[in-house]
Amino acid sequence: MSPEIPQNQKATTLKEIRRAVRFDTPVPSPDDPFFVDFSDVRGDFAERMIYETLNVDSDDFTYDSSINYLNKTTLFLGGMRGSGKTSELAKYVARLNKPDCFYCVVCNIDSELDTNDIEYMDIVLVQVEQLAKRLHEDKIPADDQAMLVSIHNWFSERIEEINTNIKRSGGIELELGSETPGFFSIFKFAAKLKAGLIGSTENTTKIRTVVRTRFPDFANRFNEFLQTTVLELNQRGIARDILFIVDGSEKIATAAMRRKVIIDESNKIQLIKANTIFALPIELMKERTHLEMFSTVVSFPFVKLRERNGDEVPAAIERFYEFVFKRIDESLFDSRETVKMAIMYSGGSPRELLRIIQYALIFTTNTATTIDHTAIQKAVQRLATEYANNLDIETLETLKQLRENNKSGIPTPFSTSLQQCLEQLIVLEYNDGSYKRVHPIIEASNMYQQYVIQPGFLPSSALRPPESVL
């Protein structure tokens, strides 16, 4: 029996590649063997922007709380799916979680909550829970017992109130528990409420009704908890402030719900006085003007492999070589050109590149020992057909327009159709969003060739390389 291969370990055989290219497992930290820093090749995106927005010195990653006592930053990091946001956020945590900077608390709402049914207050509960949990696990002493008792009592009363409502309708009540007031009890209360939210629909409604009615009061208490904890962390030399990282919002089930949480409930977001980075679903980037009234919005683009004029960006391509070869031994490819082909078809999306390699594996023969050019070709062809099957006439018209505008060097204005293309990764975005182009795999599809490149062109079985790859 072959030994268990640890998750993030470089593949040295074809069999091991499948595990090494799992794109649903993020790279948790810069120390991870798969971690690759793309920050200097994301075009106009500058990591420095993030630090400066957070009032962190980008040279030594320190935070000066004495000059920033009034500043609590809300930052939205907006990027397309698969652009590497989660890994990027993990990098920030690694850099900033230290005594002369932040006490970082990570909240992955896609794993903590039911993404089919979320409101903003659910996210705040996760923040409370994760902060209290971390404080408890780090054994931070709780000096202000009176405050903890007050918050403990508040939660107790809310749960009793919720249970009264649940009882009326014959539902199963939330467990009250008997912990003594402290970080742990607050963690448990928040966890109970959170569990209730992902339970029955009736309980979810009752919990939300109670918390929503008292949200300003809840916000005040949470803010007191935060500010008091900040002072204590400061005094103990543990950190200078708290930073929440809220990831996973793009996994909220529907666009309407995503919009509701981030846009419609932005008033509630403003009530919580804490430094927070939110991952922003790409379709909400168009609400930038609204969001910038109370926050900073930073666009997190794909890695640009080609300039607008078609010139390759060697540094970016090299970085992707690094990306591939950290996961897969170079000897498992027949040549670097094969890898380059996959890289160029990815359009600068790490996840798309991994997908291409995954598909290529399917097309390797049983006796093959490497992934070759043909396998990549077939993988791209297969993906092109899959992606193109979802293209309707309106979308094709949009792509045509985009292509013509790019050729003429003029920007393409926003449209609902273009927005949908971005959401579905039919169109990829670079720099600060000012440069968009069609996904190279789609460009390779017969559908695209026929309707966009050469209307009336007869399809053939030969793969048409995308314009940008040639």
Binding site: Y69, L70, K72, R221, Q227, D264, N267
Partner: protein, 640 residues
Amino acid sequence: MNTTFEEELALCLRVLESEDFQFIVLQCDDDRVWRRFKTRIQEHFSARLSKNIAVQGQSYRSFMDEVYAFAEESKQTGSTGILFLDDFAALASNAEMYVGFNQRRDYLFRLPIACVCRIALGAEAVRKVSQALPDMWSFRAFTGSLPSEEMPMENIPLPLELPVERYQPHAATDAELQEISRLKEKLASLSNEPATFLLKTNLYEQLLPVLTAVGKSGEGIEYAQQYIDLLESVSSDNLPDKVALPRAYRFLGQLYEQTGWDGEAEISLKKSINQSQELCKRAGFDDMLAMSQSSETSESLAINFAKTLFILGTLLDWRSSRRKEVTEIYQESLNIFRFWSQRYRDHGKYVSEVVRAGTRLGMARLDNAEREAANLLFSEVTNCYPLLRVDESDEVLSDVALSFEMLETSPSKGRIENLGEAIAIYRRLAVRQEKYQHSLAQALRFLASAQYRISDFQGAQKSADESSEIFRHLVNKIFDNKQTSPRIGSLSFTFAFALENWSLYNYSMGQKKLAIQQAMELLFLIERCEKYLRMTDDVDTELLAGYKDAALQRLHQCGVARPSAYYRKHKEFFAAQIQAGSPMPDDLPGLSLEDKSMIERVLDSIAELLWTPRERLRKGIKSLVKKLRKDAFSSFLAAR
């Protein structure tokens, strides 16, 4: 057709002067008005026979037999009889009746009667009659419309403690005291370092509302000042929460208001308003509503602004010279609450604010005699009732009840339903706080009036009894304990008005015993008020005298020859019966004084005169002297 009762009556009387058959159709929804109309006709044509014949429950044959019999009676008297058909609409709806009645037109027109027929208001009712009885209709002599009477409450000066209640703090619970103590201690423990700034603002934001809620206004003012000083120590552009300063000034204003320092309160509230408006302008908007409509992030600024306006409105409400200003303030406040409430309609947010502002504005519009506008507002508020939380505050619920109470609806049944809702809410509130018993008694009084109007006398009596009981209890509490209370004036006059009204209703219904009971109780109440006057200057003496006159008049109408003397003699008896809640005996004590000797009657007359106002005293003395002379002369003649 906007005609008055008197105008329609005059025209109808003119028509009825003719001795020929008349077919007169009048539209009237108000039972009381109809009764009065008939009475006036009967009084005017007192020499002519008159009769009511019911249509309902009769066959065509039996109905027509009655009509013919009345015609025959009238013929015997030599004049045209007046036949009242109160439920003529029933005839027009019943084919068995209206076909025959219409066909008999020529015969009927030879009878010496005038048919005065009542139908409902509205074009539909008229259409029905004209279509069912086209021939009769073509021969109609007169059609008219009798407007419903305004509800008695229209003419009542609003009681002092309704509707504008300033914020009433509640007694602090142990939990609240503990929380206040904790927050104060924590504030005191913090240094003045910049790092503590945000925590301090948070603590003030928690402390000030709870100090306001429990009425610790002195302390609250101190802390509010400290909070403002803290916020103003930082440039406003750097404040993380731009609404913090307007909010702090709002807290301060509210606390000053609680303390009774209205001038300071107004200054602070206006500061808050000005700062909010400045923030709004800087955001590029002309007004808060425009900002709300354009920007989802403006909620806290807009709501704070609306709340401040509302508090300012309640502060200024009783200054009649600023009534216009107050109306505008309430309107602006309501507009903003309404907008955000609509925005959050799925969550029921800001519904209670809409209720409070809507009720205040409705009452302000009512004060300005803008009945229709007021009605729309009360209707809006009552529609909010199902959206309120189960644990909604008493203040909000009482506003809803008040809106139900003030909402005028037609037909009367709707009014009764609304009053029923108001009463149900007041009952719940009255269990928790005694101050709502007055509101409950008032609403029951309105209900009794509405029930009288639709001739539900049993219901009306029940409501009136319950209302009286509550008023009695409240008034007794103050008088028996020899308390001075700013409420005694309004309480007594509301009760007095109620008693006067009910005795009139009962008198007009022929319920003399009840009318006398109520008149006697009214006199008893007035006597107590007069005694109270010696303790304070709180009671309006002219109004007292007016009620006293009315009560005495009622007794006289009910057959009491010497009302004042009767009261003095029998008040203890009536007071005991009323207090015990015992029903009055069939034979009221001393109702007839005719058997008394002349001397006793003279002495009673002098006693009565001593109770009456001066002009009546003068007239009374003249009359007495005349009577004495006449009686003396009669006695002299008898002796001879």
